[in-house]
């Protein structure tokens, strides 16, 4: 079974540029999460979906961040006008139906963003 797939694995930007991260969850997983992990920190939840619906996006840092999951499968996290403080690894995770409440998440390898 394929795991959670993320791309690109690395991105280096100048301040003010935009970037999009893509996530393909495990087949059949209805819940998808985006986490931000600054260097030497634990992951922090940004947003999560159940199917195509946003369940909670209250932790998105600002209106520069947006996330969509239009068909309830793949998802895209976009950062517009990136700032140095956005430097972090962006993790995508998914969970199976009923698994969301158990805390058992399956993580991708992450997309490491550096903003110069």
């Amino acid at each position: 079974e394929a795991g959670v797939t993320q791309s690109p694995r690395y991105a280096v930007l100048q301040e003010g540029q935009a970037v999009s991260f893509w996530c393909d969850p495990i087949s059949g997983h209805d819940t998808l999460y985006w986490y931000q992990q600054p260097r030497d920190q634990g992951p922090q939840l940004l947003v999560y979906f159940r199917d195509e619906a946003v369940i909670d996006n209250s932790q998105l840092p600002s209106d520069r961040f947006s996330a969509v999951r239009p068909k309830g499968t793949n998802s895209t996290l976009k950062i517009q006008s990136a700032k140095q403080g956005d430097t972090a690894t962006y993790l995508c995770a998914s969970s199976f139906p009923g698994g969301a409440n158990t805390g058992q998440l399956y993580f991708g390898e992450g997309s490491k963003l550096t903003v110069l």
């Binding site: 819940t31 634990g42 992951p43 939840l45 999560y48 969301a100 805390g103 998440l105």
Partner: protein, 114 residues
């Protein structure tokens, strides 16, 4: 809101020695507790979880953790570490019904020396 604290950011132990990684949680009710591990260049993987019942839970690769309500702790242990256990270990907490809004600690980087 729930949170976890991992007081030891970096831990070094010799191969074959025992290990304890500490985790303290803060929650108004008994939470669901987890240990995740992050090996180099890999995604986070669930090591073990506690929901209720026996306070000692077994995980993969010989790891276990003990829940203590009186101490608000969920420490991770292993009797004899191997060099392949070198990784970053995260303690996490969630509340049932919150849609798996996991709150992670800052992690503990374990280095196993030969």
């Amino acid at each position: 809101a729930q949170s976890v604290t991992q007081p030891d950011a970096r831990v070094t132990v010799s191969e074959g020695a025992s290990l304890q990684l500490r985790c303290k949680y803060s929650s108004s009710v008994t939470p669901y507790l987890f240990w995740y591990v992050q090996y180099p260049r890999q995604g986070l993987q669930l090591l073990l979880k506690y929901y209720s019942g026996d306070p000692v839970v077994q995980g993969v690769n010989g790891f276990e953790a003990e829940f203590s309500k009186s101490n608000s702790s969920f420490h991770l242990r292993k009797a004899s570490v191997h060099w392949s256990d070198s990784a970053v270990y995260f303690c996490a907490v969630s509340m049932w019904g919150t849609g798996s809004k996991l709150s992670f600690g800052k992690g503990a980087k374990l280095t196993v020396s030969p």
